[in-house]
């Protein structure tokens, strides 16, 4: 979870959509990209690169940092003709996922595109994610248990 509290609302919005783009799969982003009426051109500022992110935990969940182990991740940066730079950082090894996340990130920073992409790409992806989580939570909820002890304490 982000520790550095980010107060700039533009960064906050970007944080939100970059998270949605990262959690969505390559196929979902590909479908969204294909679904755009007009697709912007861009050049690769930094072609997709797959590497490792060291995942950190805290002792006891709350204490000092420690290195838990690595995960695969892919990053990419694209640039529009007018100079806007889009960045993608996604878990896994899909170059296309990172590239599309970067392209959408650049679009979302442009006034000309933001509204359309928010409505037709980010909102449906976020909705699908919520539905997936809710379905999972509902399933988990079915195994909630009340344990009874035969011998009670002082009460």
């Amino acid at each position: 979870m982000p520790e550095a509290t980010e107060t700039d609302p533009r960064s906050e919005a970007r944080q939100r959509w970059m998270g949605v783009l990262a959690r969505a799969g390559t196929d979902a982003l590909e479908a969204a990209w294909t679904g755009l009426a007009v697709r912007p051109g861009y050049r690769m500022l930094r072609p997709p690169e797959t590497g490792l992110v060291m995942v950190r935990g805290r002792t006891g969940g709350i204490g000092r940092h420690f290195n838990l182990g690595e995960m695969s991740a892919t990053r990419c940066a694209v640039q529009f003709e007018d100079g806007v730079i889009g960045i993608g950082y996604v878990a896994g090894r899909s170059a296309r996922h990172a590239e599309l996340a970067a392209a959408f990130d650049a679009m979302l920073q442009c006034d000309a595109w933001r509204e359309e992409v928010e409505e037709t790409v980010i909102a449906p992806l976020a909705q699908a994610e919520r539905e997936r989580r809710d379905a999972e939570r509902a399933g988990t909820e079915s195994s909630r248990v009340e344990f009874f002890t035969m011998v009670r304490g002082e009460d």
Partner: protein, 371 residues
């Protein structure tokens, strides 16, 4: 000493073909796909990711197929692969209080805020072989009992407080220190060799990727008296957490995805000193995937290894950090044990000659004459 042996290229090539044929099995049987392995053998995938120290379900599943199901060999393959990739960065510490919980139980409190949730667990199965599974044609959806019931949801998704944090509020469990080292990065045993005494950060990193069997045996030994920790399972939780990083070019944290984790908090018996009141002490386990046995073992061993800092005698093998940390890595252990298979012809010849000389001095001359 072992020496290089020349020759055998043809035999080695043939051996690789035999290995591949053995892996593939009867060609009349359809080949497993990587996706089938990652979807249907998730616990094997979890173990390979944790001990391979690389979270990537597809790669772990591929490694399992390639290693013909030999999980320690698959772990080795994953470790070798990780050395080919650059490090893009470090994550922010994952926040397990904000886990999307799939299972959460406490053996210390019956009623915990957030409740007890069994989730997918084999704990209450009868461990009877299910012969319905043996007949694939019987896996008709109508006959299976894997349709998940879906209960009405609690109105809001809320963070589930950790049981230990509740004890912490009463001051009954030792505090976790944070402030002192927040500025400097934690030890990374993949970059710098382990040094003793090791910090708890280095110890937890080693344990998180340590061999499950080894840690299970050590944890078991610690319960049987080769340590003095008296543990309770304060909380076990398994679920999904977000991983976020702060890319330099952005300067703020973004989520890059989610991973499954199992977290175990052991509550152990009191330590107290002249300056600190008696308090419960902690043992912590955190492992990739759904691996309760491993996470519990890790938490037991973490606590055992804290013996010295808590002023205990610490004279058991489970409390000896050099013994535990140097021998928990199954890639290193397997390499050293299996190197005995390499030709030791010269070494052995010299020992053989020495033994013959000793025997000629030992055996009476008459016996030699009789030969």
């Amino acid at each position: 000493m072992y020496v290089a042996v020349k020759g055998g290229e043809r035999a080695i090539e043939a051996s690789h073909r035999l290995l591949e044929a053995e892996r593939r099995g009867d060609p009349a049987v359809p080949e497993l796909s990587t996706r089938q392995v990652s979807e249907q053998l998730p616990r094997a995938v979890d173990r390979v990711m944790a001990e391979g120290s690389l979270y990537d379900r597809e790669l772990a599943a591929l490694a399992i197929r390639q290693a013909a199901g030999d999980l320690v060999e698959a772990i080795f393959l994953l470790r070798a692969y990780r050395t080919t990739l650059p490090r893009l960065g470090n994550s922010e510490p994952v926040d397990t209080a904000r886990m999307l919980v799939r299972r959460r139980i406490s053996a210390t409190f019956k009623d915990v805020p957030g409740g007890q949730i069994l989730g997918p667990t084999p704990d209450y199965t009868h461990r009877l072989l299910d012969f319905r599974l043996a007949d694939v044609s019987a896996t008709d959806p109508a006959q299976r009992d894997d349709t998940v019931q879906r209960d009405r949801l609690p109105p809001r998704e809320e963070p589930m407080p950790r049981v230990m944090d509740l004890l912490g509020r009463e001051g009954l469990v030792e505090e976790e220190t944070t402030a002192a080292d927040e500025g400097q990065p934690p030890a990374d045993i993949t970059r710098e060799p382990l040094r003793f005494p090791a910090g708890r950060d280095a110890r937890l990193q080693v344990l998180a990727r340590g061999d499950e069997g080894f840690l299970l045996a050590l944890g078991y030994a610690s319960q049987r008296g080769f340590s003095n920790t008296h543990p309770f399972a304060g909380e076990i939780r398994y679920g999904v957490v977000a991983v976020s990083i702060v890319p330099e070019e952005l300067g703020f944290a973004i989520d890059i995805g989610e991973i499954e984790l199992t977290e175990v908090q052991m509550v152990n018996q009191f330590a107290g000193s002249d300056t600190a009141p008696p308090q419960f002490t902690r043992g912590y386990g955190l492992v990739f995937g759904h691996q309760e046995r491993k996470a519990m073992s890790m938490a037991l061993v973490d606590r055992s290894l804290r013996g010295r800092e808590l002023g205990e005698a610490a004279d058991s093998p489970t409390e000896d950090e050099e013994f535990v940390l140097y021998h928990s890595d199954n890639v290193e252990a397997s390499g050293f044990v299996q190197h005995l298979k390499l030709p030791h012809y010269v070494d052995f010849q010299s020992e053989l000659e020495l033994l013959r000389r000793l025997r000629s001095e030992f055996d009476p001359p008459s016996a030699q004459a009789a030969e």
